[in-house]
Amino acid sequence: MYSEKVMDHFMNPRNVGEIEEASGVGTVGNAKCGDIMKVYLKIEEDIIQDAKFKTFGCGAAVATSSMATELVIGKTIQEALHITNKSVAEALDGLPPVKMHCSLLAEEAVHAALWDYAKKNNIEIEGLEEPKADVHDHDHQEGTGCCNG
């Protein structure tokens, strides 16, 4: 069902963990869906120096979290903003159709962390919108970013 790349990132996820005093933290997804992603970013001089994640979710959710953090590390905020769910999925050699939502979740988690960073620093990041979904806020809408539903 999953590509070798997905299985590799699932079995050996990169960047699992927390960043103490992170520049920004974003959590998306919810328990109803069965997927929650939390992304920690360390940003210095507009560059993402480090990224870590914790994920409660299916194999695809774990792998996309791992890949998304890999992709954003070393990028500028603007570059990171342009890493879409598609590019995450492609970097993993594709995802099964029912699992494409998971890659959306990874994109959203990164955005949410960037939003948190912007809020904390009272800056505005061009092109960044307020995260749609958060585990603490409200239920996910059907079909958007819900990995297991």
């Binding site: 079995m11 328990a31 994640f53 299916c58």
Partner: protein
């Protein structure tokens, strides 16, 4: 690495003895059982004998046994067939919230056709209360359909009690015994069961119970189920039944001991984890554990990487990714429903295999919790 198959409730390997008995019906004995020539008669006889064997183990008569393509078809036929045949009498059906989708989706379909369906709640151990059945009965009730044992959590229902209630109220009683067969002793007459579905597939229909045909066509199965008979499958089913009830008590004792060892080991070694389903009124091969803070699919993948094939919820729904309707019906919140895993044992399961799972599971769960944001939150909140 040894491969351990702990998903025997989903599918199970065909036993050597069963396959051996099936083989000639693929190659030598291939005549269509409905024909007059000798070759066909061999097959007809094989079917008749299988029917006799199966009837015996169910306490039924041979002319009450009908072969189908599987458990799903048997459930569809039973429920739709009764609904159609008795619609002049009423339009109300009673079932439970934790039936297999073969029953639930059939009932939902009938709702769209104008039938009324009561989906009974179950208690937190997955038990249907016979009193609830009684209370749900109306003048318009034509069918009660309650599964014999649940496929996900293994809870065994109070079938005899429900059969008694159905009898007293003269309402037809169907039970999906797909998971129960071979694990409990069934006697349709004593238990007042009017229809009973088995996987592989068979439908028992008590004499005198009308059912509208479901699959229309040729005159097979005494005109009630059309389609060329799957002779190897039928012969194999009968043999499997024989084997299942051979040394029954002894086997059940052994597997129950292994089951309880696995349950005990898991819930003592893994914190924040509990048994789903009933402790004793439980299929002897079923272990279903809710593990907090971890997600089921990941857990299964990691188990698989360690050579352990298990399942979360029922295999049939894993295509849909929804959290199990059975676990939700027990009152589990979504995250716990997502984090449940089912191990179903077989006769061939060994103590070594159970020990291996007991060795691996705690490590895997710990690894997953280390990367779980829910666990992180929980720890912070409980510091």
């Amino acid at each position: 690495m040894e491969k351990i198959y702990f998903d025997n409730a989903a599918t199970t390997p065909v036993k050597k003895e069963v396959l051996e008995i099936m083989l000639p019906y693929f190659t030598e004995n291939f005549g269509n059982p409905s024909s007059v020539y000798h070759l066909a008669q061999v097959n007809k006889k094989a079917i008749d004998e299988a029917r006799e064997t199966l009837a015996k183990y169910l306490g039924a008569n041979t002319n009450e046994i009908f072969f189908t393509s599987g458990g799903t078809e048997a459930d569809n036929w039973a429920i739709k067939g009764i609904a159609e045949a008795y619609k002049a009498k009423g339009n109300h059906i009673i079932t439970s919230k934790i039936e297999h989708h073969a029953v639930l989706h059939t009932c939902e379909y009938l709702e769209k056709q104008g039938y009324e369906v009561t989906y009974l709640d179950v208690d937190e151990e997955g038990m249907v209360n016979p009193e609830d059945v009684k209370k749900a009965i109306k003048d318009s009730t034509i069918l009660i359909s309650i599964m014999y044992a649940n496929n996900e959590i293994g809870t065994i229902m109070p079938i005899s009690e429900i059969g008694q209630i159905a009898k007293e109220h003269q309402i037809i009683f169907h039970t999906d015994a797909v998971q129960a067969i071979g694990q409990v002793k069934i006697d349709v007459k004593e238990q007042n069961i009017d229809l009973l579905s088995l996987s592989a597939g068979l439908l028992y229909i008590k004499r005198g119970i009308k059912t509208a045909p479901f699959i229309h066509g040729g005159a097979q199965e005494r005109g009630r189920r059309a389609g060329t008979e799957n002779v190897p499958g039928i012969v194999g089913l009968a043999k499997a039944m024989e084997l299942a009830y051979d040394h029954f008590e002894e086997k059940i004792k052994n597997i129950t001991a292994l089951r309880d060892e696995l349950i005990q080991g898991l819930i003592t070694q893994i914190p924040y984890c509990k048994l789903n389903g009933h402790k004793t009124q439980r299929l002897s091969n079923n272990v279903n554990i809710g593990v907090e803070f971890v997600e089921g699919e990941s857990l299964l993948l990691l188990l698989d990487m360690n050579g352990i094939a298990a399942s979360s919820g029922s295999a049939c729904t894993s295509g849909s990714l929804d959290p199990s309707h059975v676990l939700l019906a027990l009152g589990l919140p979504h995250e716990k429903a997502h984090g449940s895993v089912r191990f179903t044992l077989a006769e061939s399961t060994t103590k070594e295999q159970v020990d291996y799972v007991l060795e691996k599971m705690p490590q895997i769960v710990q690894r997953m919790r280390d990367m779980s944001p829910l666990y992180e939150e929980f720890l912070k909140a409980n510091k």
